[in-house]
C-alpha cells in the first residue's frame, strides 16, 4: 500500500509540477526577444522588439535569409509592460525576456528620465541583470530594427559592438545592474554608450558614437569618443585601448596600445579645499610609428615618446575632469565614491552633496608612462 501511495505521489508530482505544463509556455510558443528598444511617444512609449523567428529557424547558419531569422515588431502603449502584453495580442505568443541581449532607450526618453521605464526590467524576474543597456542617438527603433545583412542577428552584433569596449577602451559598456547602481549612487553620474545607425550600401552599420552622460536619471550631455577615454582610464577599464601621440622630436606620430593601466586616488583637505590626487600608472606597447628619420627607437627617443604620452594623457584627463566637474557638474569617474570609501568622515562633513562640491574639488593628476614593448619589428625601413 505504501509503495502504491509513493508511486502515485511521484507520478502526480511529475505531471503537475512540470515547468512546461502550460502549453503556451513551451519554447515553440514563446516570442524569443533578442533586443528591445523603447522610444517616447505622445501616448506613452513605442516598444520595438527584435525577436527570433522560431517558425523558420533559430539557427542563423541554416541557410535562411536575413528577414527570416529575426522579425521586428512595434507596439505603442502607455507603459512597457502594457506593450509587452500587447505583443501577445499581435503575435499570439508570450514574450520571453530571458534571452534578451540589449535594451536601447531612445534619446528623447532618456532626456525625460529613465527611472520610470527601467522599473519593468527590475520587477520582471525573466530579465537578466547582465543585459547590455545603451542609448540611441535618435530613435531606439532605428537601432533595434536595423538590418545588418544576411544571416545576421542584429541584436548579437549590437551586443558584440557594445562589449568590444573591453577591447578598444574608447567606448564604454554598461549592463543593467551596473547602470542601476550608477543611478542609485549619490556620487557617480550614470553614463551609457550611444549607438548610431549609419547607411552602408543596402544595409545598416551600427557603431558607438559617444557616451551619454546622465544627470540623475536624465540624459544631459553627449561626450565624444575622445572625451570618453578619461572615463575609461580613471575607472580602470583602459586595458587594451590604443591612441596615438605626436612626437615632434622625431617628427612622427606614434600609435600606442595600453597593456595595463591602473589609477590610484587619494584625498586630502588643503587650504579648506578637497584635494584629489590621482596617480595613473600605464604600461604601453608601440603599435606603429610614422617616423622615416630614425631606424631605431633609442632610449632617448623612447623617453621622448613617454614624455609626450604623459603630457597628452594628463592634458586630456585634466580637461575632461575640469569640464565634467565645473561645466556639467557630473562625476562619471567614480571619484566621489572613492572619496566616500576612503575618507567617510570628511565626505560626511563637507561632501554629502557631492555635485555641489565638485566645482571646489582640486584635482592633481600625475601619469607615469612606461613603454614596455616596441612590437615585433627588429629593423626599420630607413636607416639613421
Amino acid at each position: 500500500m505504501k509503495k502504491i501511495v509513493k508511486i502515485f505521489l511521484i507520478v502526480l508530482m511529475l505531471f503537475s509540477l512540470c515547468g512546461c505544463s502550460i502549453t503556451n509556455l513551451e519554447l515553440k510558443n514563446r516570442l524569443i526577444i533578442q533586443a528591445l528598444g523603447i522610444d517616447l511617444t505622445n501616448n506613452g512609449v513605442m516598444v520595438t522588439v527584435e525577436a527570433l523567428n522560431t517558425e523558420i529557424s533559430s539557427n542563423p547558419n541554416s541557410g535562411g535569409s536575413a528577414p527570416d531569422i529575426v522579425k521586428i515588431i512595434k507596439v505603442e502603449a502607455n507603459s512597457v509592460s502594457t506593450a509587452m502584453r500587447k505583443l501577445t495580442e499581435i503575435e499570439g505568443r508570450v514574450p520571453l525576456l530571458s534571452q534578451n541581449r540589449v535594451i536601447v532607450f531612445g534619446e528623447s526618453l532618456c532626456k525625460k528620465g529613465v527611472n520610470e521605464y527601467i522599473d519593468f526590467f527590475l520587477r520582471n524576474p525573466q530579465n537578466r541583470a547582465t543585459v547590455e543597456v545603451a542609448v540611441a542617438d535618435e530613435k531606439a527603433e532605428d537601432i533595434v530594427s536595423a538590418k545588418m545583412g544576411e544571416s545576421v542577428i542584429p541584436a548579437r552584433e549590437i551586443q558584440k559592438i557594445l562589449e568590444a569596449s573591453e577591447l578598444n577602451s574608447t567606448t564604454v559598456t554598461k549592463t543593467l545592474y551596473q547602470f542601476v547602481n550608477d543611478l542609485k549612487s549619490k556620487t557617480t553620474s550614470a553614463y551609457l554608450p550611444i549607438l548610431k545607425a549609419e547607411d552602408l550600401d543596402d544595409k545598416k552599420q551600427i557603431k558607438v558614437s559617444g557616451t551619454a552622460l546622465f544627470d540623475e536619471d536624465k540624459y544631459s550631455r553627449e561626450l565624444t569618443i575622445d572625451e570618453t577615454l578619461p572615463i575609461v582610464i580613471l575607472t580602470n577599464n583602459a586595458d587594451n585601448g590604443s591612441f596615438f601621440v605626436s612626437v615632434p622630436e622625431i617628427e612622427s606620430d606614434v600609435s600606442l596600445s595600453i597593456i595595463k593601466s591602473k589609477s590610484k586616488t587619494n584625498f586630502e583637505i588643503i587650504d579648506n579645499k578637497v584635494n584629489c590626487g590621482v596617480n595613473i600608472k600605464m604600461s604601453l606597447n608601440c603599435l606603429e610609428s610614422s617616423s622615416k628619420k630614425f631606424s631605431e627607437f633609442t632610449p632617448k627617443i623612447i623617453e621622448q615618446i613617454e614624455k609626450r604620452t604623459k603630457e597628452k594623457i594628463e592634458n586630456e584627463l585634466k580637461l575632461s575632469i575640469k569640464k565634467c566637474f565645473n561645466e556639467y557638474r557630473a562625476d562619471p569617474f567614480n571619484l566621489g565614491t572613492i572619496m566616500w570609501q576612503k575618507k567617510p568622515k570628511i565626505f560626511k562633513e563637507r561632501c554629502e552633496n557631492w555635485k555641489d562640491e565638485l566645482k571646489n574639488v582640486e584635482v592633481n593628476l600625475s601619469v607615469d608612462v612606461i613603454i614596455k614593448t616596441l612590437g615585433n619589428e627588429a629593423l626599420n625601413l630607413v636607416d639613421n
Binding site: 509540477l17 525573466q126 537578466r128
Partner: protein, 362 residues
C-alpha cells in the same frame, strides 16, 4: 520524562542545523533593512553572530548543568502541566517556522521560477512530503540533511568561485556610515531568524559527541559562509542586489563558468532541498514534543495535523502579498527569538531551580 538515547552524531545534527540556518540567509529578503549601506550588511552578519552567541548562554547553562536533558525534560521536573504548556509553545514555534519556510519558498516560486502560476500546489506537495520525511524519524532527516549539506557546499563553492572575477570594490560603502544602529538593527533581525537555538535546546540530547565543539563549529561556519555570501552579493551586483526581492538569487543568476550559464539553478535546487529538510526537522520535532506530552501513539497524527495547519494557514496567507509579508515580518521573529532563546529557557531553568530547592528544603 522522555528517554534521550543518543541516536545521531553531533556533526550530523550540526550540519543539518547549519543547512537550516543558512536557508534563512539564502532566502534573505531586504524588505526590512532599509537605510543600510552595502558594507553594513557585512557588519550585520558579524553582529548577528555575537547576538546568537550571547543568546546561546542559557543553552550552554542548560547542557552544562543538566547534561542529557532537553528543555522539556527540565520543565517536566518542575511540573507535568508546566512541561505540557512548554511543549505546546515549542511545538507552535516549530510549526510557525515551518510555515514561514513554506511561505518563503512559495514567494520564491511565484516570483522567480513561475510568476504566471500559483505555487500553492508545489507547497502542498512539499508539506505532504515533509510530513512523510518527518515520520521517517530523526536519523533519516539527519542523514539526508548531512548529504544535502555536502550538496549545498558544492553549489555554494561553484557559485562563489565563478563570482570572484566579477567583484567590484567600488560597490562597497564605508562601514557604519549612517551610524552603528542600523547595522545592529539588521544584525538583530538576522539573528532573530535563528530557530536553531530552541531546536538545540531539545534535540542535542539525541546527539552523541562533543556538543560545545560542534556548536562553535556551527556558529563559525554560519558566520563565515554568511559573510562570504553577502560579500560576493555586494561585490558582484552592489546596490542593485538590494532592489531585488531575493538578492542572493540575483547574484547566482550572474554566475557562469565557461559554457555553463545561469548557475542559479544550482542555488534554486539547494534552496528547495534545504527548505524541505527544515520543514521535515521542524515537523518531526513538534510531533516528538507533542507525542511525549500527550501520548506516543499519536506522533504521526501530530505530524499530519501540523502539516494540515501549515497548508491551511499558508493558503490563507498566500492570497495577498500584504498577508504573506506579515509572515515574513522580522518583528514577529524578533519577539519569538527573545522569548524562546532567552526568556522561556531562563524562566524554565529558574523555575526548576526553585522547585529543586523547595524539594530539598522539604
Amino acid at each position: 520524562m522522555t528517554k534521550n538515547n543518543p541516536i545521531i552524531s553531533t556533526w550530523q545534527i550540526f550540519s543539518v542545523l547549519l543547512l537550516t540556518r543558512l536557508l534563512s540567509i539564502l532566502t534573505f529578503v531586504p524588505l526590512f533593512t532599509k537605510g543600510l549601506n552595502t558594507s553594513d550588511y557585512l557588519m550585520a552578519v558579524l553582529i548577528s553572530t555575537m547576538i546568537i552567541l550571547i543568546a546561546s548562554l542559557p543553552l550552554y547553562y542548560q547542557y552544562k548543568k543538566y547534561k542529557n536533558k532537553s528543555i522539556i525534560d527540565i520543565s517536566e521536573e518542575s511540573s507535568t502541566i508546566f512541561s505540557k504548556v512548554v511543549g505546546v509553545s515549542y511545538a507552535l514555534l516549530f510549526i510557525f517556522y515551518a510555515l514561514t519556510a513554506a511561505s518563503r519558498m512559495n514567494l520564491f516560486v511565484e516570483t522567480i521560477t513561475s510568476p504566471t502560476s500559483s505555487g500553492n500546489l508545489f507547497i502542498v506537495f512539499s508539506v505532504i512530503l515533509a510530513c512523510y520525511g518527518a515520520m521517517l524519524g530523526l536519523e533519516a532527516i539527519s542523514r539526508s540533511g548531512a548529504i544535502s549539506f555536502v550538496i549545498f557546499c558544492f553549489a555554494f563553492g561553484v557559485i562563489m568561485f565563478t563570482m570572484i572575477s566579477k567583484i567590484d570594490m567600488n560597490n562597497f560603502s564605508p562601514v557604519f556610515y549612517n551610524a552603528i544602529s542600523p547595522s545592529f538593527d539588521a544584525g538583530f533581525k538576522i539573528a532573530a531568524n535563528t530557530v536553531e537555538i530552541p531546536i538545540m535546546a531539545i534535540i542535542l540530547t539525541k546527539a552523541k559527541g562533543n556538543k560545545v565543539k560542534g556548536y562553535f563549529a556551527w556558529l563559525i561556519a554560519f558566520c563565515l559562509i554568511s559573510f562570504i555570501i553577502f560579500f560576493v552579493t555586494i561585490g558582484g551586483i552592489g546596490e542593485f542586489g538590494f532592489t531585488q526581492l531575493f538578492p542572493i538569487h540575483s547574484v547566482a543568476v550572474l554566475s557562469e563558468f565557461s559554457l555553463l550559464e545561469r548557475l542559479d539553478v544550482l542555488l534554486t535546487g539547494v534552496w528547495i532541498l534545504s527548505a524541505f529538510i527544515k520543514m521535515c526537522l521542524l515537523l518531526y520535532l513538534q510531533g516528538d514534543i507533542l507525542s511525549n506530552a500527550f501520548g506516543k501513539s499519536h506522533k504521526k497524527m501530530f505530524i499530519i495535523g501540523a502539516g494540515a495547519i501549515i497548508i491551511i494557514t499558508h493558503l490563507i496567507f498566500s492570497k495577498s502579498i500584504k498577508k504573506s509579508t506579515m509572515l515574513l515580518s522580522d518583528q514577529i521573529k524578533v519577539g519569538l527569538f527573545i522569548a524562546f532563546a532567552l526568556i522561556i529557557p531562563i524562566s524554565i531553568l529558574a523555575v526548576n531551580k526553585i522547585c529543586l530547592r523547595k524539594r530539598v528544603n522539604k
